[in-house]
Amino acid sequence: MKFFVLAYKNLKRRKSRSFLTIGGVAVAVAVLVCLLGFNAGYQEALTSDVDKMGYQVLVTAKGCPYEAATRVLKGEAGLKFIDEDIYKQIISDPDIDKITPLLVQLVYDPEKSDGKGGFDSYSGIERSYMELKPNVKLKSGEWFSSDDADEVILGYDKAESIQKKLQKTVGDKISIPGEDTNLVIVGIFEKTASLEDGDFFLPLKTAQRIFEIEGKLTSIGIKLKQIDRLQAFEERLYPIASIQVISMSQVKGTILNLVNSAKILIMSVAFIAIFVAIIGVINTILMSVFERTQEIGIMKAIGASKLDIFKLIWIETLIICTLGGIFGSIIAIFGGNFTELLVRKVMPYAPGGRLLLITPELLLFSFFGVIIIGIISGLYPAFRAASMRPIEVIRSGE
């Protein structure tokens, strides 16, 4: 039997208290892992979303640029329309490398989500859309037969859900809820791991006709030949009063800044949780030290040195923190999906892909972090126990 076994058996003597303390540490570790994982995951997912958009610059109707950018990122409608003439007006700008017009509309489908109802996103696009988005490729089928054909290309996830629900695939016809038109499925896009995987894609003119908004767009996506020409490009577009130019890198930076501000607040909560857990650990060990005053005195009488007692109490603290760290990591790994679901509901804009990036490095960092905290928080109770004089302790039992 070694010190470790002795310390472990001591903790087992007060099962409920030890279990609750370990639980407190586990919750603090899980919160820390999830927050740090969210920090890394959100940034990566947002960068990936913005990169996958293919646009460096977005032209929309005048309004809040961040609302417009996030709506486009989310594939949402609700933007004010701009005239298609503006697209024709700026297409020949010398700084533009690639440009594509977009019209996004939301349609309510009462059958969606097992009859609960929900909105589907329909995007009117032109072939230039594929040129701007290098990761958007046809997995099966082909591009639209004409600019105003009653045809649809499905995003990867949408194709899977239609196949599952309606047993329809390329070559079959589907209808838009509330509209008379039937659309032939002509293709399916490959998975992009973005929100576009759940969209319907129509030829731009078809979308304008079906939704009765001919000659209108919701946005124009642009890739410049050189991004440092952005300012000059913006200045040239300045006289067009009804539009605004949004740089996606600025949007990304602003979203990250907003998220970081929220993160600081959440991190404060996490640190309070950790602080409370530390106090819990110190309290548990200290109480156990005081309860075992005589026992510690007897140990000293039968040959334990100050260092032996210090080691014993310290190991107890470390066992609590180590078990807390292990359980906390397990909670974070298996509860991560739930946390992600929660974050997606709360966040005004959550990018596609994994929001919570729990890496082995992050788990190791949190695990060893809590061990170090354990080492520090065990110091005081261990010192108190080691300082007890056997004579006083034994006398207190008389």
Binding site: K12, I302, G303, S305, K306, P390
Partner: protein, 231 residues
């Protein structure tokens, strides 16, 4: 052959300060304990019994005087050296046993070896278990033991490091008469093998069964006829 002295106290004093008052808990005690001797220390409450036991057990430091354990003068030693003396020379047995309830009999007995960083000699451990009457009970958690077996575990724990002196404070105070007799017999058998035993007690019956009784009163050893205790 002259009897070997294992413990020798000369003019041993222990004073405490209670405010401005000085309490003389021990005031010039002269004491010699020989090898294989069983000595009982009796006296009324506050006579200095526990103080004397703590000093000879190297749990406390004397205010003045000399205390030798074997050939080592321990009165002036620091805490770390006293620990070493305790580990090598002294075994303690307490009235309330003070065992760790979640550990087994064997684990409780092994504790002093862990603290002394000594490996366990299985053969020796078996002999010890047999000697104290715990053979076959080594895997039982001590919380399930009877009072007598708890005290036997306490005695085995005190003996595992091969001490020269066994110091016990009311070792039979919590035991039934029959078990009391068994423990006393065990002490006698241990002393025949060379162990010196020093028993602090109020139990005159137990004291009378020992080879020598030391009467302590007001911090001093007094002759039997001057003692407040009658028997």
């Amino acid at each position: 052959m002259q009897d070997k002295i294992v413990l020798e106290a000369a003019n041993l004093k222990k004073y405490y300060h209670r405010g401005s008052e000085i309490v003389k808990a021990l005031d010039g005690v002269e004491l010699k304990i020989k090898e294989s001797e069983i000595v009982s220390i009796i006296g009324p409450s506050g006579s200095g019994k526990t103080t004397l036991m703590n000093l000879i057990g190297c749990l406390d430091k004397a205010s003045a005087g000399s205390l030798k354990i074997g050939d080592t003068e321990v009165a002036s030693l620091e805490e770390n050296d006293l620990i070493k003396i305790r580990r090598e020379n002294i075994g303690f047995v307490f009235q309330r046993f003070y065992l760790i309830p979640t550990l087994t009999v064997r684990e409780n007995i092994e504790l002093p070896l862990i603290f002394a960083k000594k490996s366990i000699n299985e053969k020796k451990l078996l002999v010890l278990l047999e000697e104290v009457g715990l053979k076959g009970k080594e895997r039982i958690q001590v919380k399930y033991l009877s009072g007598g077996d708890k005290q036997r575990t306490g005695i085995a724990r005190a003996l595992v490091n091969d001490p020269k002196i066994l110091i016990t404070d009311e070792p039979t105070g919590k035991l039934e008469t029959e078990v009391k007799g068994q423990i006393l017999e065990l002490f006698k058998s241990l002393s025949e093998k060379g162990l010196s035993i020093c028993i602090a007690t109020h139990d005159l019956e137990l004291a009378q069964a020992t080879q020598r009784i030391i009467h302590l009163q007001d911090g001093k050893i007094v002759p039997r006829e001057k003692s407040d205790l009658y028997y």
